[in-house]
């Protein structure tokens, strides 16, 4: 039996979290949600995850900071991290890539494309 893929979504918008939960839980993923980078790190300190999907613009700790912290640690340094953002600038995309992001997805997201991306990076 295949193990369920566990996804952590990180976004400060409750509306976006609801859309993500709906899109990812329905096809059978195990979805955990955090409202910013700090909450994500707190949860990741005691839990395992297969894929992280994070927004960029968030209070307390933004998506860039979250990626840098995960890549700089030991426990989750190899986890796939997909950025899901309204940002479209090449400069920010390059910054996310340099920080260690696995992929870049522009909102509004297409559920089918998002699911395909998750399955591809989760291995």
């Amino acid at each position: 039996m295949l193990q369920t893929i566990r996804i952590l979504t990180v976004d400060d918008s409750a509306s976006m979290r609801a859309l993500l939960r709906h899109a990812l839980a329905d096809p059978g993923f195990d979805v955990v949600q955090a409202e910013d980078g700090v909450a994500a790190l707190e949860w990741l300190a005691g839990n395992e995850v297969d894929v992280v999907i994070t927004d960029i613009n968030m209070p307390r700790l933004d998506g860039f900071g979250l990626i840098e912290r995960l890549r700089g640690g030991s426990r989750h340094r190899d986890r796939p991290i997909l950025v899901l953002t309204t940002e479209s600038s090449d400069e920010k995309k390059a910054r996310a890539r340099a920080a260690g992001a696995t992929g870049w997805i522009v909102k509004p997201f297409d559920p089918e494309k998002l699911i395909a991306a998750v399955r591809r990076v989760a291995h």
Partner: protein, 184 residues
């Protein structure tokens, strides 16, 4: 592209926000204005940071929907996030945001109530994001003119003749970029 002109009556710089646009300002001399039929305008402001912004939208039906009274919530959340992120970049804080909502009329009898669906989306978004809605003037069958001073949050909403509201079809989602996945 936004259009603006200096009002000789008030001395304010009047900036017109058309359907599909959003504008954010903290300038005390700016006034954002628009005319709404079935479209909805969200006027958000942070009274502490003295920054405000307005968007003006009419959401299309969601992809694969057969119900003409449904709206594309994915696209709506995206449009609201664009406005909020621009405000945050200019010093606003999400917890301090306050909102007014206007528009969402159903101008034509017998047509799908697309104005009501857009208004319902905007209200549910604010409720979910816990952004207090201080004032609303939504629904009905008449067009409205909105004048919003973003630095103070002051709004004037007046009924105007329906012929002044130029009803354009809902703007589609961006043709390129939305939802595209790039793996590094």
């Amino acid at each position: 592209m936004l259009t603006s002109h200096l009002s000789p009556e008030t001395g304010m710089q009047r900036i017109t926000v058309l359907q599909g646009q959003a504008h954010v300002s903290g300038a005390a001399g700016d006034e954002l204005t628009t005319i709404l039929g079935s479209c909805v305008a969200s006027c958000l402001f942070d009274p502490a940071a003295k920054v405000g912004g307005m968007n003006h939208f009419l959401l299309p039906e969601p992809p694969h929907s057969h119900d003409p009274a449904e709206v594309d919530v994915h696209y709506g959340v995206y449009l609201m996030e664009i406005l909020i992120n621009d405000m945050l970049r200019r010093g606003a804080r999400k917890a301090q945001l306050r909102a007014h909502l206007y528009g969402g009329a159903n101008l034509h009898v017998g047509m799908p109530p697309i104005g009501s669906a857009n208004a319902a989306f905007a209200k549910s978004f604010l409720e979910r994001e816990r952004i207090p809605l201080l004032r609303e003037d939504l629904g009905g069958a008449h067009a409205r003119r909105i004048e919003f001073r973003p630095a103070t949050g002051q709004v004037r909403c007046r009924a105007v003749e329906n012929r002044l509201a130029q009803e354009a079809p809902p703007a589609p989602r961006p043709a390129h970029g939305g939802g595209d996945v790039e793996l590094f």
